[in-house]
């Protein structure tokens, strides 16, 4: 190993561990320096396999740096910097630590060369990201966080089951392309784990349930890392699996349909993650060089514009305390820059010429047409219409223009967010336009260089096609606005999380009524038939106990009470704190086991 190789995950974890010790005077500088260092580590990383660690009878590979992992790591590290800048004013160390651990997990999973390492970091992501939801500290976010965690634990178990079966069958832990034409049971289990994290219906409901409940800056991180790490894993393991084309197209339209009827700005954006990841999943399914390039390029562009949109949503939340469009409107005078920058995100996700989505999304659509999947190409273009309708028209219009539906208090306190938030949004917006105008920046990072060189997004036909598609969507939108057909109104849209939210209540009822009833009956019987004889014998034993045992026990009890009274201070009965402690202890145990064996 001649080149210096530093795992960016170590930088992020080190930064997270040391952050509470950093003096206040240099705290903000440190907050920016750690993600910048991780980004530099990715930029300077040589290609090759690094970080081999012997574990039991296997070799873990912590650093597989090739073109596929590097393009994802590049954008993840960059987004970590932007996201941290956006939340720079957050005083609570825990939020930054959670975000950085989450990024560390994502980078670790991307560089993982074997399935065990992948699983380790996969779980690290789930268990750290949930704190970005809990930190909002509302009853809704607490509940959404628990649901998020439970769903991800289920997905993680499927992944683990698949990994164990795979290792048992093949004897290999290497994370490489699976046989997608004849997938084994193990491959299906692993695929389900990946699809859950990629939010592929019907395993998607956790995303629009949880992401809108995160903190104003936490959701910016959430929008970037989990789903796109899963897209990376799909690119690595399941390229060319045809069922993914069908699933991808379904999810691109499914997200759009829900976004069209959604009232909450951040939930609308969340549904568009489902929709946009659909393009990437379809790209993975098509599996040609152009399609895989497209999936990577679109993930890259998506992380920036979706981060930008969630920063817009976070600004609205922080500066007005409201994210429901039925309670917003006409805010352009109050927060013009937030409007302008969010609009750039909206134009980028809509694949407007000169914006990032235009040069990335089109690769996937083009690959679909080239592989004679004409239906997929047309349906993905239909989803593009819905994307522009929601992100480029509906949100900008109903939040910043249209009728003022704000409460007086909301409208009065609304103003543009502080400098660091605008700077983060400005940086993301600049990159969205830069990628759209100067294609070599993104194209030179893509895994298949030959296909990337042959692809030219700015042809007369493609520009004409996109402009017609989008501008006539705008025409339809304004006609619908004139007809007052699409005024936002309050409401919840029931999604597939209904099954476990209402199912959970049914389980609770079962536990409370029949199960507890039986328990009480058994208790009664026991008291009458068992307890009285027991009392008799107990009295006899008591005599023996008083005389002999007490002497010994009293000594012990005194010692235990002293230890207990110390421990009591650490244990306040708050479930989330206990979980934090449990995660930390579990992580420590894993580390100790790693080192000992």
């Amino acid at each position: 190993m001649s080149d210096l190789w530093i795992h960016p995950t170590l930088i992020m974890l080190g930064g997270a561990a040391l952050l509470p010790l950093v003096p206040r005077a240099v705290r903000k500088a440190c907050l920016l320096a750690v993600p910048a260092l991780a980004f530099a580590a990715v930029l300077l990383m040589p290609r090759g396999d690094f970080g081999h660690v012997a574990f039991l009878k296997w070799t873990l590979v912590f650093g597989r740096a090739d073109s596929l992992s590097l393009v994802f790591a590049h954008i993840m590290a960059l987004m970590c910097f932007i996201g941290t800048l956006f939340g720079l004013q957050v005083e609570e160390d825990g939020q930054h630590i959670a975000a950085w651990t989450y990024v560390a997990g994502s980078l670790g999973a991307i560089f993982a060369g074997d399935l065990l390492t992948l699983f380790l970091f996969w779980e690290m992501m789930a268990f750290s990201s949930v704190f970005l939801i809990w930190c909002r500290r509302t009853p809704r976010s607490t509940a959404a966080g628990f649901r998020y965690l439970l769903v991800h634990v289920a997905g993680g178990l499927s992944l683990l089951a698949g990994i164990i079966l795979h290792i048992k069958a093949t004897g290999s832990t290497a994370f490489v392309q699976f046989d997608v034409h004849h997938p084994t049971t193990a491959a299906w289990f692993i695929l389900v784990g990946f699809l859950l994290n990629a939010a592929v219906p019907p395993l998607h409901a956790w995303l629009p349930d949880a992401y809108p409940e995160g903190t104003f800056n936490g959701s910016v991180f959430l929008s970037a890392f989990t789903t796109k790490t899963a897209v990376y894993a799909l690119c690595r393991g399941f390229a060319g699996m045809e069922i993914l084309v069908v699933l991808g197209v379904i999810m691109s339209l499914y997200g759009v349909v829900y976004a069209i009827i959604e009232n909450d700005v951040r939930r609308l954006f969340a549904y568009h993650i489902v929709s946009q990841v659909g393009y990437m999943v379809a790209g993975v399914g098509i599996g040609t060089q152009l399609a895989i390039n497209g999936a990577c390029a679109h993930a890259f562009a998506h992380i920036l514009y979706k981060g930008l949109l969630f920063m817009g949503g976070g600004s609205i939340l922080l500066m007005t305390g409201e994210t429901r469009m039925s309670k917003l409107g006409s805010l352009y005078k109050k927060m013009p820059w937030a409007f302008f920058l969010t609009l750039i995100g909206g134009l980028s996700i809509s694949a407007f010429p000169l914006f990032s989505g235009f040069v990335s999304k089109s690769m996937i659509v083009q690959a679909g047409f080239e592989e004679h999947m004409v239906w997929a190409g047309f349906l993905l273009n239909l989803a593009s219409i819905g994307t522009f309708y929601c992100n480029g028209l509906k949100v900008p219009y109903f939040v910043w223009f249209g009728r003022n539906r704000c409460e007086p208090a909301t409208f009065d306190k609304a103003k543009d967010p502080p400098w660091n938030m605008l700077a983060a949004m400005g940086l993301a917006a600049f990159l969205c336009v830069f990628i759209g105008c100067y294609t070599p920046y993104l194209y030179n990072l893509l895994p298949y260089q030959e296909a990337a060189r042959e692809y030219h997004p700015y042809t007369g036909y493609h520009v004409s096609e996109s402009l017609q598609l989008l501008l006539f969507t705008a025409l339809a939108f304004f006609v619908l606005v004139r007809l007052r057909k699409i005024e936002p109104h309050a409401g919840t849209n029931v999604d597939l999380d209904w099954f476990y939210r209402i199912g959970g209540r049914a389980f609770l009822w079962l536990a409370r009524k029949p199960v507890q009833g039986v328990d009480t009956a058994v208790g009664e019987t026991y008291r009458a038939g068992g307890l009285r004889p027991l009392m008799m014998s107990a009295r006899l034993v008591g005599v023996f106990d008083n005389r002999v045992i007490d002497g010994i026990v009293d000594g012990f009890a005194g010692a235990i009470r002293a230890v207990g009274s110390r421990l009591r201070f650490a244990q306040r009965g708050a479930l989330q704190e206990n979980l934090t402690l449990a995660f930390a202890v579990a992580a420590a145990v894993v580390l100790i086991v790693l080192f000992v064996f």
Binding site: P336, L480, N493
Partner: protein, 86 residues
């Protein structure tokens, strides 16, 4: 604030902006019919050769999506805001 002034400037001339926008739409479809500018050699289906095909696709596609989504919502998917609150 310059950005705000620009937005207000455009809002004050809303009708002109609307007419300009509509003119742009017409120009777009006309340009689409000129083979020298828009080379449809690589189009994948016969329908794409019709001038303004994607314009019609955009307009009708948007209306269809909105109608389908709203109908889907009215089937019982859209419900009251506190639906999940106990």
């Amino acid at each position: 604030m310059r950005l705000l002034r620009l937005i207000d400037f455009l809002r004050d001339r809303l009708m002109s902006v609307v007419w300009l926008g509509l003119a742009a739409l017409v120009v777009l479809v006309i340009v689409d019919a000129i083979p020298a500018v828009v080379d449809k050699h690589h189009a994948h289906t016969a329908a794409e050769h019709i001038p303004g095909f994607w314009a019609a696709f955009g307009l009708l596609g948007c209306l269809t999506l909105v109608i389908v989504s709203k109908t889907y919502g009215h089937l019982g998917v859209s419900t009251r805001e506190d639906y999940y609150d106990e």
